[in-house]
């Protein structure tokens, strides 16, 4: 089922949660809504589910107006951030809930409910927990129950709100792979909200990066990582080394010194040169466009990082650079930084 969001806006009192957001999700896709807290990603998910209503805009499922239907009739599977399992019901009854509440001509016979629930519990690999209560389960097990419960109503849209947020790193990684596998097995279009970029990049077909109630960029994980459309995306996804600069008459300057770097068509004014740490080489201070004093060097496993203080327009700026293992770097010494691959954005952006 395709999902279309057209010009959706939503305000909470004075806070602009969503500002004219449009998004197209293809059928069978797994899309991640990625952004910091307060970026509006959960609000967008709740509007698609029908748990919140937009002030303006449209939501369409397969071209049909979804806003004309309540959450009850949208047939979406929603997995809540803290699972929201029914604490007074067993795992079995939690999963059976969506079938039990059907009345009249939609009523599901008890035998069919039993069969369907067993099948789902097997699918999420927790059939041995059927008689337990949510309070007796681990975080990962609750997550599986929540997913089985959402799948019980055979939704064609699966919405997941920070599905792995409350789990420890190891379980998270395992469940992530398993969810991707599950998505491929089921005829379902999935939308996942996360603030964890690693999760979004690893799991999703496409990533929607959100900030301040707007969509900053939509693209494949490789696209948003390699070619960030805005400084916000560059900052938010992957590690960023930000160097202060200025564009004057189309040329890049560091202080009063012109740089032999491309300004990439950025408008005149204060600018920021953004690069991935591994795309910045060390060089002799005299030859490099940027130079600074080494404050500290840290090593964790194969990774070495150095804090380098660089003179900026409004006082010194400390950047974190990646240091090759074979490089000797003395604390207190001067070192030059030479960006190999970089993007230039206006500083206000």
């Amino acid at each position: 089922m395709t999902i279309d969001v057209v010009g959706v806006s939503k305000r909470f009192k004075s806070f602009n949660a969503l500002d004219n957001v449009s998004l197209h999700v293809r059928s069978g896709e797994l899309v991640a809504l990625l952004g910091p807290s307060g970026s509006g990603k959960t609000t967008l998910l709740r509007i698609i589910a029908g748990l919140d209503w937009p002030d303006a805009g449209e939501v369409r499922f397969d071209g049909e107006d979804a806003l004309a239907r309540t959450v009850r009739d949208r047939n979406v599977g929603f997995v809540f951030q803290h699972y929201a399992l029914f604490r007074h019901l067993s795992v079995f009854e939690n999963v059976a809930f969506g079938l039990r509440v059907r009345t009249g001509k939609d009523k599901v016979p008890d035998a069919a409910i039993r069969a369907r629930v067993s099948e789902l519990l097997e699918l999420v690999q927790i059939d041995w927990l059927a008689d337990r209560y949510p309070g007796q389960l681990s975080g990962g097990q609750r997550q599986r129950v929540a997913l089985a419960r959402a799948l019980a109503i055979s939704p064609r849209v699966l919405l997941l709100d920070e599905p792995f947020g409350a789990l420890d790193a190891k379980v998270r990684k395992e469940l992530r792979r398993w969810l991707r596998h599950l998505h491929e097995e089921l005829p379902v279009t999935s939308l996942l909200v996360t603030h964890d970029q690693e999760e979004a990049l690893e799991l999703a077909d496409r990533v929607v990066v959100m900030g301040h109630g707007r969509i900053e960029q939509v693209g494949t994980p490789a696209e948003v990582y390699e070619n960030p459309a805005t400084a916000f995306v560059h900052d938010f996804i992957g590690e960023t080394l930000a160097l202060p600069a200025e564009v004057r008459a189309g040329r890049l300057y560091a202080g009063d010194r012109p740089l032999a770097l491309d300004s990439q068509g950025t408008a005149d004014g204060p600018a920021r040169l953004l690069a991935r740490p591994h795309d910045v080489d060390f060089a002799d201070p005299g030859d490099a466009p940027f130079a600074g004093r080494v404050l500290a060097v840290r090593t964790f496993g194969p990774v070495r990082r150095a804090d380098i203080e660089i003179a900026g327009r409004d006082g010194p700026v400390v950047v974190e650079a990646a240091v090759p293992l074979q490089q000797d770097l003395a604390t207190g010494g001067l070192i030059g930084l030479l960006p190999r691959k970089y993007r230039v954005f206006a500083a206000s952006a």
Binding site: A49, V71, A84, R87, R100, V101, R149
Partner: protein
């Protein structure tokens, strides 16, 4: 870092405890003194009066005790008390549930005003509460002439007693439910609706089961207060023997007529109710803490 590196050797803690007792442990003499003071105080202020109620009730033998209870006026008082409690607890169960549901699960203007209003009966003297109903429904009251013209009796009759009791006991159920419902939030309800449940079905399948023990607890306290209420009921009842006297009122009348044994016999029933309430309350509290 692995877990094994952080955890201290398994044998260490036991030895440490034996060498240095926890700092918050008082010397035995102090402990015994404090506990004795607490027990003596409880015994004097609560235990002794409770025992004396039963001693006085049986002072003239159990025949007198039984006779006092099967007296037609006493029986009428017991029956009235049960009826009033049943109606007002029933009403407050529904009101309390609806009010706390609205307050805890929805946002609306005037919400804090509603919360204050629910607490009002706790801060108003019961006598004033009773007086309010007399002023409203009494023959000199606001709606009095209209009621008289239509031959409806509220004050000095069952409806007045029920109204006064409902007013006084209103906060018990709501106060018990609001904090719990607020803590539970609305996500389970949202989950239920997203799974296709109707509003009513969500309420009965999710909201109500989640608060059932707290609800029972509130009902219990509400019932105890409804049966024991004196002030407000005293003002609206009119003290008509065998007709509008509840148990507390009947006890007062008997006492004022120097029928001590009979008075304490009826009082012993209320004391018994208190004990039963206490036991039930303890059991419910255990269930409540176990589930949350």
């Amino acid at each position: 870092m692995s877990v094994a590196e952080i955890a201290p050797p398994a044998t260490a803690p036991a030895r440490v405890i034996r060498q240095a007792p926890p700092v918050h442990t008082e010397p035995p003499a102090v402990r015994i003194a404090i506990i004795t003071v607490a027990l003596v105080f409880l015994g004097l202020v609560i235990g002794l009066p409770l025992v004396s109620v039963f001693v006085q009730a049986f002072a003239k033998g159990w025949q007198t005790y039984v006779a006092a209870l099967v007296d037609p006026d006493a029986l009428a008082a017991i029956r009235l008390t049960l009826i009033v409690a049943a109606i007002s607890v029933g009403l407050n169960l529904v009101f309390g549930l609806v009010a706390s549901w609205a307050i805890a699960k929805f946002e609306f203007t005037g919400k804090s005003f509603l919360i204050t209003l629910i607490d009002l009966p706790f801060s108003v003297s019961p006598v004033v509460a009773g007086l309010v109903f007399v002023l409203l429904f009494g023959s000199q009251g606001l709606i009095g002439p209209f009621l008289q013209a239509n031959d409806i009796k509220i004050v000095f009759a069952l409806p007045g007693i029920v109204l006064a009791t409902v007013f006084v006991t209103f906060p018990f159920v709501a106060r018990e439910l609001i904090p719990l419902m607020q803590e539970q939030g609305t996500s389970e309800e949202e989950a239920a609706i997203s799974l296709g449940a109707s509003g009513l079905s969500t309420f009965f399948r999710v909201t109500l089961p989640n608060v059932k023990w707290a609800l029972l607890y509130g009902v219990l306290l509400c019932n105890a207060r409804a049966m024991g209420e004196f002030g407000a009921v005293s003002v609206v009842s009119g003290h008509i023997r065998g007709l509008t006297n509840t148990m507390p009122l009947q006890i007062e009348i008997l006492y004022n007529e120097y029928q001590f044994a009979a008075s304490f016999a009826v009082a012993s029933l209320l004391a018994l109710l208190a004990l039963v309430t206490l036991c039930a309350k303890t059991i419910l509290e255990k269930r409540l803490t176990r589930e949350h």
